[in-house]
C-alpha cells in the first residue's frame, strides 16, 4: 500500500494549490480527483480547451491552466479519475480508478471537494431539459456545446457569467428570470464598503450586465411563483413579475441560486458543521488554517465555506503551510511569514462576499417550496410529504429516511439534504442547527463488487 504525508481530495483551485505548495515544502503528496483532467468544476476541462474556446469563456477560466500546469513536480502523485468512496481514521483512503479499488495511507488528509450549486426545487425541476446553470457552463467549457433556446432562472453572479458566455458562443439565452428584489439590492448596499474593496468583481459583474443588455436579452426581476412546464421535457417557464404572469417557451432551463459547500466527505468523517445564516447553508467547523476538529483533517476552499476560486486557491496554500508545519517540514515562524501575504490577499478577495450574499439571496420559493414540489429527486418525495412527516412526529433528517426513504437514493441526500433540514426547521419552528443534517456514511460514491474484487491483495491486507 502506498503511503503519503498528505492525501488531498479534489483537484480544483484549492486542491491543486495545496498539493503543489505541500510538495514544494518537501511533503509526499497524493492528489486524487474523480474527473479525468484537473481543474475542478471552475476550471473544468481547461487543459483540453482550444484557444478560441478559452477566449469565449474568459480570462478567469483560462487562468486555470496556470494551476494545472504546476501539478507535474517531484513529490506530487496526481491520480486522475480516482473516485474516493471511503476515508477512515488514520487515514486509509479507499478509491476506485480504472474499475479497480485501491487504498492509500496518509498521516493527514485535505478535503478540497469544493462546492455544488444550491439545489433549486421548483415545480417541474425534475423534467429533462432542466439543469443547473453550472451544468450549462460545464457543457460549454468541457464539450463546447451550448443550449440554443434556454432560459436562465434564479439569482447571482454566475447567472450573468453563463448568460454572457452563451452570448459569446452564439446562443444568447431567451431571457433571464431573476429572483432578487430591489430591497435585496438595498440590503446589499449596506456592504458597499466591502464591495468596493472587491471592485474587480464588481467591474466584472457590470461588464457582464452590459454585455447581456447589448445582446438584447430580456431580464425579468423579482420573479415569484416560478415553475417549469412540460410533460416529458421542459417546454416553458411560467412566473410572476412586474404585476403580470409570464410564460416563456424554451427547450432548456438553467437554474441557479448560489452555491453551497459540498460537505459529503466531511460529514462522513464526523466533522461538526454549523448553519451559516449569511450563506443559508451548513459549513464545517474549521480554524483559519482549514483544520477541522478531527485529528489530521483539513478542509480547504469552497468546501469550508463559499469564497470563490481565488479564495480557494489561497486557502489551499494556507492549509498546506499548516500541514507542512505539523509534519515538521516548516518552522512556525516560517509558516506565519509565508502565510501572512496569502491571508491578506484572502481577506481582500472575500470582501465582496457580504454584498453578494445580501444582494443575491436564495430564491425563497425554492427554500420552502409548495407542498407539491419534489424535494428528494431520487425517491420523489415532495415538500408536502416532509411537512406531513413532521406532523407525524418526524423530528430530524435521519428519521425522514424511515418515514419515506428521503435521501436514500443514488445521490445519497446531496440534492435534498438542505431542503429537508429547512423544511423540518420551519415545521417545528426550530433552527437548522437544532434540526441537524443526514448522517453520511461510506461509500461516498457507488463502488461495485467487481471493483472491490479487483482490489490488489496488499491493499486488502492493509496494516493488519
Amino acid at each position: 500500500m502506498q503511503t503519503f504525508d498528505v492525501v488531498i481530495v479534489g483537484a480544483g483551485p484549492a486542491g491543486m494549490s495545496a498539493a503543489t505548495e505541500a510538495a514544494d515544502l518537501g511533503l509526499r503528496v497524493a492528489l486524487l480527483d474523480e474527473q479525468l483532467s484537473p481543474g475542478g468544476q471552475i476550471y473544468r476541462g481547461v487543459n483540453g480547451v482550444s484557444a478560441e474556446r478559452a477566449k469565449l469563456l474568459g480570462a478567469d477560466y483560462a487562468y486555470g491552466k496556470t494551476l494545472t500546469s504546476r501539478l507535474p513536480r517531484d513529490g506530487l502523485a496526481y491520480f486522475d479519475g480516482a473516485v474516493v468512496w471511503a476515508i477512515e481514521d488514520g487515514f486509509c483512503i479507499s478509491y476506485t480508478k480504472d474499475a479497480k479499488a485501491s487504498v492509500l495511507n496518509a498521516d493527514r488528509v485535505v478535503l478540497a471537494t469544493g462546492a455544488m450549486e444550491r439545489p433549486m426545487p421548483i415545480p417541474g425541476w425534475t423534467l429533462p431539459g432542466v439543469m443547473t446553470a453550472g451544468a450549462g457552463q460545464i457543457l460549454m467549457k468541457q464539450s463546447g456545446i451550448v443550449a440554443q433556446n434556454a432560459v436562465l432562472v434564479g439569482t447571482g453572479p454566475l447567472l450573468y457569467l453563463v448568460a454572457a458566455q452563451m452570448i459569446r458562443f452564439g446562443a444568447p439565452p431567451v431571457a433571464l428570470v431573476e429572483t432578487q428584489t430591489r430591497s435585496d439590492l438595498i440590503r446589499g448596499a449596506r456592504y458597499a464598503g466591502g464591495a468596493m474593496r472587491g471592485w474587480r468583481y464588481l467591474r466584472k459583474g457590470l461588464a457582464l450586465l452590459a454585455e447581456i443588455k447589448r445582446a438584447g436579452v430580456p431580464r425579468h426581476r423579482a420573479a415569484t411563483g416560478i415553475q417549469v412546464e412540460g410533460t416529458d421535457r421542459a417546454e416553458a417557464v411560467r412566473f410572476h413579475a412586474d404585476g403580470a404572469e409570464h410564460r416563456i417557451v424554451c427547450d432548456t432551463v438553467f437554474l441557479h441560486h448560489g452555491v453551497v459547500p459540498n460537505t459529503q466527505a466531511a460529514r462522513a468523517l464526523r466533522v461538526p458543521h454549523f448553519w451559516d445564516d449569511a450563506q443559508a447553508c451548513f459549513v464545517p467547523n474549521v480554524d483559519s488554517w482549514g483544520m477541522a476538529d478531527v485529528e489530521g483533517l483539513f478542509i480547504a476552499g469552497d468546501g469550508a465555506g463559499i469564497g470563490g476560486a481565488k479564495s480557494a486557491e489561497l486557502a489551499g496554500r494556507i492549509t498546506a503551510l499548516r500541514v507542512a508545519e505539523l509534519a515538521g517540514k516548516l518552522a512556525v515562524a516560517d509558516r506565519d511569514r509565508k502565510a501572512a501575504p496569502l491571508q491578506a490577499a484572502s481577506q481582500t478577495d472575500r470582501a465582496v462576499r457580504p454584498f453578494l450574499n445580501a444582494a443575491y439571496p436564495p430564491y425563497t420559493g425554492a427554500l420552502t417550496p409548495d407542498d407539491a414540489t419534489i424535494i428528494c429527486r431520487c425517491e420523489e418525495i415532495t415538500a408536502g410529504d416532509i411537512r406531513r412527516f413532521a406532523k407525524l412526529g418526524c423530528e430530524g433528517p435521519n428519521q425522514t429516511k424511515a418515514f419515506g426513504r428521503v435521501g436514500m437514493g443514488p445521490c445519497q441526500g446531496r440534492y435534498c439534504g438542505l431542503s429537508v433540514t429547512m423544511l423540518l426547521a420551519e415545521a417545528h419552528a426550530r433552527t437548522p442547527d437544532d434540526i441537524g443534517y443526514y448522517r453520511i456514511r461510506p461509500p461516498l460514491k457507488p463502488v461495485t463488487l467487481g471493483e472491490l474484487a479487483a482490489m490488489s491483495a496488499p491493499d486488502l491486507e492493509g496494516e493488519v
Binding site: E34, P128, M131, I138, I145, V146, A147, Q148, R377
Partner: protein, 102 residues
Amino acid sequence: MKPVSPFLETGTAPQVTIQFDGAPMTVPQGSNLAAALLAAGIRTFRQSPVSGAPRAPHCMMGVCFECLVDIDGVSRQACMVDVSEGLVVNRLAKAEDPDADL
C-alpha cells in the same frame, strides 16, 4: 435519423462510434458521454425507478445521479465518463433498479 438537439456543437473533434440502446451513434472522440448524448438529441436518459418519469442530466458534475446509464452492465454517471470507440451504453428502464449494481 438523428433527433433534433436543442444544443449547438461548436467543436470539430474527430468522431468515434458508440452503441446507444443498440444503435450506432457517432460522437466526438474523448467527449463527455452525457454532453455527447445531449448534443446527439437524446432528451431522456432514464426513467425514475419510482414513477417512471423521464430524467436527464441535471448537474453535469457527478452530484445528482440523474444521468445514470448502463455501461457494460454497471450503472454509471454519464457526466463522469469520456467516450471511446465501441463504448456500449444503454438506458436504464424503470423495471431495472438503478441501485442494483451499486
